[in-house]
Amino acid sequence: MVYLLQKLWGALMTDQLPVIVAITRVVGETPSVKTIFFDRRFDAEPGQFVMVWIPGIDEIPMALSGPDSITVQVVGDATRVLGGLLPGDMIGIRGPFGNGFSPKGRILAVAGGVGAAPLLPLAQLYPGLTFVLGARSASDLLYTNFLKTCSDLMIATDDGSAGYHGYVAGLLRDMDLSCYETICVCGPELMMKSVFDLLDAKGVLHNGQFSLHRYMKCGVGLCGSCCIDPDGFCVCRDGPVFMGDILRNSELGRHHRDASGRRC
């Protein structure tokens, strides 16, 4: 009852201005990736994301890698500033937004690079799942220490410096995927596309759940910057996680749109 009222009250009565949090700890994961912890826990499903406001700079989408953390790969201005913040610095959080993963039965997580971030809460919630972790090189692998303790961890590196030598999709090709009822995938677009094609070829695409990335500005399904062809779904609101069969014939791996809405 109280809960319900809080929900109602929360839904009806609260401005959704960015919630300001203070950074408590910054953990270097790899040379270009840091996990940033803050002083507030958000109630989110694995796979949901938040919009992170770096005051004076920009606001960018980030998966929650935990209830009180994001894992940031430095790729440009906003991520560079974000990655350089120190404990005590303040950032704003809007969200969590979107639909996360819907795990059932045996779970396989497939991560490429910083795509491991939204999959980490899944590993925390479902110990024993199978986790296929890919990266360019051994030093780019995320969360391995933790994942070793709680999952059946398999590693792939592009340069062979750890685990399977090659792409994640290559590693998956030799696996029996039919035993997984849920296959959660997140990583760079082309990695996701090859996994998508592989699942399709193996006839298990309907078990695939793909966390997409598109240019996001509002996060709440209004501005249209994250919409995907051909159905016009909003990645921010209808996704970011989509069931594999919904993405068949979609723009995944073909094109996306930049900040201006131009296809590229």
């Binding site: 201005l17 300001i20 920009d58 606001e59 303040m90 709440v220 501005c223 159905d231 809405g261 131009r262």
Partner: protein
């Protein structure tokens, strides 16, 4: 609540499938999302505002959701002439292309790109947060008239979308009418701001933004009422509409049709929901309702 007769609606030179139109800038950057809104029951759709050059828009945050509205400063991101490709899949559909420019020539140039694909043009002379564009034109009646005239020459219907951030919206409406507009759209967002108390800075990257949603509905009703009284061309209402009752109220104020934006947040099925309530087999003629609050 009364209900209306359903059927196609002729407004400002465009045949709508019903009285509800997707507002400019909401889910309007891709052909596919525009097509989706038509599938979801919109009577017509307005595209994102397209300008003379591609723009990435303002730095974020670009939008925050408030208790009773939405505050945004997208900054007119748009793919410019590349937007033509988005319309390929929408041939023959009621798609109004929203355009903006910094002067009449730019309006003309942008319009020229869509002469074959747009059912009509909607001129954005009303966005309150993009310097040199939008409301910076829409607060100057002479410029509004000139920009409208520059687009009218393509012999396509021209709708002019007005800003409420003026002392007297009717003078701008009349200027648009004099420039050859086929309809007026009222209103765009209301200039506004919120500040983050902890960060001690405006929450929007652009500092200033535009307020939309429920909070501005009474302002929209007022503007539509004023324009209906002062102008000869149809008025299309916009601002804070989220129910069939709101649609009727704006129509009574003088709106021939109604655009909907913010209320689609979290509810892409809203068009169907509203048409389900708005129309009935015993419905009355819309003509009986439009502007009836003036009698």
């Amino acid at each position: 609540m009364i209900q209306l007769q359903s059927g196609p609606v002729e407004v400002g030179g465009v045949t709508l499938r019903n009285h509800l139109i997707l507002a400019a800038g909401v889910l309007g950057t891709c052909g596919s999302s525009l097509a989706r809104m038509l599938r979801e029951g919109a009577g017509a759709v307005v595209s994102k505002s397209i300008g003379p050059e591609p723009r990435s828009g303002h730095a974020g945050p670009c939008l925050v959701v408030l208790e009773d509205g939405v505050l945004n400063a997208m900054g007119l991101p748009n793919p410019s002439s590349d937007f033509r490709g988005e319309l390929d899949q929408l041939k023959g559909e009621p798609v109004i292309v929203s355009i903006f420019g910094g002067n009449p020539d730019e309006f003309g140039t942008v319009a020229s790109w869509f002469v074959d694909s747009a059912a009509a043009f909607e001129l954005n002379v009303s966005c309150p947060h993009a310097s040199g564009y939008g409301a910076q034109i829409g607060t100057n009646p002479d410029l509004v008239e000139a920009c409208t005239a520059a687009v009218s020459r393509f012999h396509k219907p021209v709708w002019v979308k007005l800003t409420p951030n003026v002392t007297d919206i009717t003078t701008v409406g009349i200027a648009a009418q004099d420039g050859g507009a086929n309809a007026l759209v009222a209103i765009n967002t209301v200039k506004a701001m919120r500040i983050s108390p902890e960060i001690r800075k405006p929450v929007l990257g652009n500092r200033f933004g535009g307020l939309s949603g429920k909070a501005i509905f009474p302002i929209a009703v007022r503007c539509v009422y004023e324009l209906y009284g002062a102008c000869e061309i149809p008025v299309i209402g916009c601002g804070g509409v989220s129910s069939a009752a709101d649609v009727l109220e704006l129509m009574m104020a003088g709106a021939s049709a109604v655009e909907i934006g913010s209320a689609l947040r979290g509810n892409p099925g809203l068009f169907r929901e509203i048409t389900g309530n708005l129309y009935g087999t015993d419905g009355i003629s819309p003509a009986e309702i439009v502007g009836c609050a003036h009698d």
